[in-house]
Symmetry: C3
Subunit: 162 residues, 3 copies
C-alpha cells in the first residue's frame, strides 16, 4: 500500500475530532459554544430529504450567520416553551467527497436519540450531514452544514440543533 | 507509545473510508455501484445470528459473484414490488481480527434504520459485518461480506442490501 | 495543515481500536475477557445522567476492582435469572478531553440495542462514556469507566455490561 501523506492522515483525524467535539457540545447542552463551530457568514440548514430530492427549497431551519445561530440559542434558553429532554447524537461514515471554494465537502450520517423523563429512549431523527468545511486542523469551521433528515415526522418538536 | 508504521495507519484509514463509501453508496441508493465493492467471485451473505451460532447454513440472501449482485440490483429496480422507504446505515467498531488467503479479516457493527412515508424512523436491523477484504488503499474490495443480524424479525421486507 | 506527531496519530488510532475491541468482546459475549480491559484497582460505574447532573452518588452498578468485575461475570454466567437476549453496542465521537494522573480522559457516546427472541431490535440505552485510560498502544486499560445513561428507564433488566 502506498502510504498517504501525513497531512492527509492529519486531515482525516482532524475531521473525526471536529465531528466528535461538535456532537459533544450539543449533547452536553453547551449551546453557547455552538456558533463557534461555524464561519461568519455561514449556512446552517435542516431540511427533509424529500425536499432535497424534489429540489424544493423549503427548510425546517435556516440560519445564514453566527448572529442567527446565536438567536437560536437565545430561543432555546429564553423564549421557547418545551418539556425537558436529552438529545444524543451519533456520527458515522465521515468521508470527503470533493473540494469547493477552498473548502472541503464532507458527508456523514447522523442519528439523534431523544430521552424524556420517565420514557424509554427513542430514535429522534436520522439523516446525512452535507457539509462544507473551511480552515485546517483545530481551526476547521463549518461554512455550510446541511442536515438532511429522512423522516418528515419527528416524535417531538425540533428544539435543539442537529 | 511506539509509533506504528505509517502504512498500518494508512490501512486503518483506508478501512474507515471503505466502510463510509460503502454505506453512502447504499444510503444514497446508487445500487448500480454496489457490485463494484466486491471481488468476482465473492461471497455476500445476510444470515441470522442464531443460524451462525447453531452452525445452520441457511442464509436470507446469498450471492456468490458480481453477476448475482447485479441481479439483486435488477430486482430492486425492476421486478420487486415494495413500498417506498429510506434505509440509512451506521457502521461502528471497525477492527482487524486476522489475515487469511492474502486478505484481511475485519469485523464491524452495523445498524440500519428504516423510514417510510408518514412514519417515524425505526431501527430496521443491527448486527455484525464479518468481512474478508482483498487489495490495498482505495482498491480494497470485499471478497466476503457476511452480514450477521441479531433479530430474526425485521419490521418490513429486506429489499435493499445491508 | 501542521502535521501532528505520528505518536499522536498512533494514540488516536489506538483509542479507536480499544473501543472497537471492548464493544466486540461484550457483543460476542466473551465476558470472561472483559475484566482484562481494566486496571486493578479500577472504577466501573453505570449511573443515570440525572444523578450525575444533580451530583447524587447513587450508581446502578459500581465495581472497584477486577475481582468485582469477575464477580459480575459469575452472576451473568451462574446466578442471575434472565431471558435470552443479544445486546449490540455502538461507540461514536471518541475524543480526548484532558489528562489526569498520568492517564488520558476520554469521552465517547454509546448506544446499545437489545434483541430478544421473536421481537424487533430496540434501543436499549444511550449515553456517554467518561473514561480514564492508562497505558499506551495495545496495553491501554480503563482505570475508570463511567457509563452515564440518558434514560432512567431501560426496557428490560440491565444484565450485561455496557
Amino acid at each position: 500500500m502506498q502510504a498517504p501523506a501525513t497531512n492527509t492522515i492529519a486531515l482525516r483525524l482532524a475531521l473525526d475530532d471536529l465531528y466528535a467535539r461538535y456532537a459533544a457540545c450539543l449533547d452536553e447542552e453547551r449551546f453557547e459554544e455552538w456558533p463557534d463551530f461555524f464561519t461568519d457568514p455561514c449556512v446552517y440548514k435542516i431540511i427533509p430529504r424529500i425536499n432535497v430530492e424534489r429540489k424544493l427549497p423549503l427548510a425546517t431551519w435556516l440560519c445564514e450567520s453566527r448572529g442567527y445561530l446565536r438567536d437560536r440559542v437565545q430561543a432555546i434558553r429564553k423564549t421557547s416553551v418545551y418539556g425537558p429532554r436529552y438529545i444524543r447524537r451519533f456520527v458515522s461514515g465521515i468521508h470527503i467527497v470533493g473540494q469547493r471554494d477552498e473548502a472541503i465537502e464532507v458527508r456523514a450520517n447522523f442519528a439523534a436519540y431523544e430521552t424524556q423523563p420517565d420514557t424509554f429512549t427513542r430514535v429522534f431523527s436520522v439523516g446525512q450531514y452535507r457539509d462544507l468545511i473551511a480552515g485546517t486542523g483545530s481551526d476547521m469551521k463549518f461554512r455550510e452544514k446541511i442536515c438532511v433528515f429522512d423522516s418528515e415526522l419527528v416524535p417531538n418538536s425540533l428544539i435543539y440543533p442537529l
